[in-house]
Symmetry: C2
Subunit: 468 residues, 2 copies
């Protein structure tokens, strides 16, 4: 039917008795107005001004109207539209993507948020029995998504520099299609401030991973919601932020599907993001959208169109906001790490690397120092734990809960694997022996950092200093 529409829309002055779209005069809405933070040029640090929140805090209005001129009229914003989104909104995110990534030859497709974007990529690229590659610790809600379509995961080792290219190479070189099925053709990775480990793929590895993708013909799903939250040396203002080069920026082959989101830099409940890909993938993503979620809601399309327009923040204001937000999160990170040093790591039972992006601190619990630690457990399969790290960590997690503290145990982030995959895992280094981490965040309520980390420090002391 969409093809039929395209057929007819090429002709001028057609009269349509075809589509079941209610007429805009019957939409009961006349005006939608968002009162937002000002990101005007004279405000250098808009997030600081916003969070100071006095009665005179400057605001701006993003307005969409049915009758008055605006960037995206309610007449079209609240009508049905194509799967890719309204041209105005699509143009807005395309310009934004150009500004930060200058992709070679790509096109943006709107989504209803990051999860929708990633899960659509999974559906588009995966068939039952396929294996996808992923960071060995990954956000479980996402790695669970394609299991119901029969897609399996192959974990690639990560360290604080992100995904390890040599491990990726090892897996791809040693893959045996006869015993393991089709060789993986998709790599799913969160390159900045990875969830849950907080690690950021360094620039050198990004290049190497892209080269490996070329060599083994891998499609890369670049899931990058924390891209704008990269922390580094002082930045010079005026020029574009110094952010790590994305896979998209180096994608001369059209093998990258980059998934972007406003959730972490604006508000999660907005549920609007976008995928940037080659025109070929775009076309399929639009078809998939047309037969699943349909195009995103007009409300969010209005918001981003107005935000990025000349009467809104524009890209320059958006850039001021995200820089300022980086500063704010860097402050929170440093505050968290200070308290962590005082309350937790000083006792020597845990440590953490400062994350260079995102919201997560991946706490390394030195569980091998625990009096009940054992490393003499052997499993015939070779793929499950040879130590009692999982049991000790579960005990620690429960002790935290009993003391009133919620942290996320690493075990829940272990990417689920299939029997075919176990052959490729290192039997001397099973992931279950490396679940001695806790995911914590500095994104939440600031006032919970001190009491939360105090509890953690106390629980760890009690846990480690028990009598043998």
């Amino acid at each position: 039917m969409k093809a039929l529409w395209r057929l007819t829309k090429g002709k001028p002055n057609m009269i349509s008795l075809g589509n079941g779209d209610p007429h805009y005069s019957l939409y009961p809405v006349k005006k939608i107005q968002y009162e937002v933070a000002s990101a005007a040029e004279d405000i250098e640090d808009p997030v600081a001004v916003w969070t100071a929140a006095g009665p005179s805090t400057p605001t701006q209005l993003f307005t969409s109207s049915r009758d008055e001129p605006c960037n995206l009229s309610l007449k079209t914003a609240l009508a049905y539209s194509a799967g890719a989104g309204l041209p105005e909104a699509q143009r807005a995110v395309t310009e934004l993507t150009k500004f930060y990534h200058s992709p070679p030859d790509h096109i943006s497709t709107l989504t209803v948020g990051n999860m929708d974007g990633v899960s659509k990529c999974f559906r588009l690229l995966g068939s039952p029995g396929d294996h996808f590659l992923a960071d060995e610790f990954s956000f479980n809600a996402l790695t669970n998504a394609p299991l119901s379509h029969g897609v399996n995961w192959v974990p690639v080792k990560i360290d604080k520099g992100g995904l390890i290219p040599s491990d990726l190479e090892r897996i791809m070189s040693n893959w045996n299609e006869e015993t393991q099925g089709r060789r993986p053709h998709v790599l799913y990775s969160v390159p900045s401030g990875q969830n849950p480990t907080g690690c950021t793929l360094n620039a050198d590895r990004r290049k190497k991973v892209y080269e490996l993708a070329q060599r083994f013909d891998l499609i890369i799903i670049e899931d990058d919601p924390y891209y704008y939250l990269q922390y580094s040396e002082e930045e010079s203002s005026g020029t574009p932020s110094k952010l790590m080069p994305s896979f998209l920026s180096m994608d001369i082959d059209g093998r990258v599907l980059r998934v972007d989101s406003f959730s972490k830099i604006m508000m999660p409940g907005m549920r609007l993001g976008w995928i940037t890909s080659s025109p070929l993938f775009h076309e399929h993503l639009v078809s998939l959208t047309d037969s699943s979620t349909q195009h995103p809601h007009g409300f969010g399309q209005i918001f981003i169109t107005e935000m990025l327009s000349a009467s809104g923040w524009q890209i320059s204001g958006f850039d001021r906001w995200t820089r300022s937000l980086r500063k704010e999160y860097q402050r929170r990170r440093d505050l968290f790490l200070d308290i962590f040093a005082r309350e937790v790591s000083s006792a020597g039972f845990a440590s953490a690397d400062p994350p260079q992006a995102g919201m997560f601190v991946w706490i390394d619990v030195h569980v091998r120092k625990h009096p009940r630690y054992r490393c003499d457990i052997r499993d015939s399969e070779g793929s499950i734990a040879r130590t009692n790290v999982p049991e000790l960590m579960e005990e620690l997690f429960e002790r935290c809960l009993d003391s009133g503290l919620v942290v996320m145990p690493a075990s829940i982030f272990v990417a689920p694997t299939s029997p075919q995959v176990s052959k490729i895992l290192d039997p001397e280094d099973p992931i279950q022996d490396r679940v001695n981490f806790l995911r914590t965040t500095f994104a939440g309520d600031e006032s919970s950092m001190q009491p939360g980390l105090k509890i953690l420090g106390e629980v760890l002391k009690e846990f480690f200093q028990e009598q043998k």
Copy 2:
């Protein structure tokens, strides 16, 4: 992870360092305001007042704020939430559903619109190789959706009274699991103002279909976006509208998943709807939502929560709006049919039954009167056309296009079938011989009715009065 959250949320005074939710103080939005039509008690016919649209047209404001009291604060509306939607929004649609359907024991799950709702039901209930039952003419964007999961369609005959129960019974009774695979366990149907035929399932058939569903253990997906647009005798005001009883209202077994939408009664770009089902299906729908679209956008949840609240329209105002809207569409329908009688049917080459609901007029082209009509074509398969109706209708469709008119040919709405299904189709009455219909609508721009139908009348005359 959701299970873990449930575990921890039961405990009071927990401190969380767990979730990566940005703090609301960093959302750059302070207030969202929707200026909408008034549906106050003293306005009996709010749609008429609204479309008259003078400068003094009364409006109401639906407002959500970060700092001021409101029904759904931006603090929660713009945060992450559970897959079913925010409790406030979920409660709003639950109350609405109770008012119109009084379902026995059901619960509502928010969706990002009708297509999302229906396609989630398909994904939840269908496995590769399954057969679902559907009205023989169905909205193709929907029947296409589950094909990629390997679900096939079994068409059930319809007439102007909707789906024919005896045909459903015939299919189910004669199904042979050995040659045809698993017996269908799902019936997908649009009971009111069906798209594309405009037919409405009459009350007697609704009961019979539900009984057959009980007898053959069918799950019914009741896709009912035109429910509120049912046209009938004058209604008494004050009491709930006399609308056809839904499958949901009679669902003592929990076998109905009812899909509702605001698209046709408010605005399509809102992209917010809901599914009402048994608690068991609800639980699975929430899981599916958590790993695909996630919960719907906060903007729409604010809108419906405010709309149905005491400071908004309330259910009574919503009911006034939809009654008034019915009146408006009934007026449009009658106008369309008047013009149709004058410009088209008077010549005797086409006719149409007045639809009792929805937006569509299904024009019956009397193609058997065409000088080039043939009925002597035999196909060994028995399942494809024995006449040249498809060819003639395609020619007519193209002539319309060439004359500047877009109408939808019936052929594009034929539910796609599998080879296993062809055995159950009536070889003496293939659907391809019955594609002599055009879907037209009275929902669009009123000013296009007269010129559009004039073209149709002229094209039909030319087409039928050609020399043999």
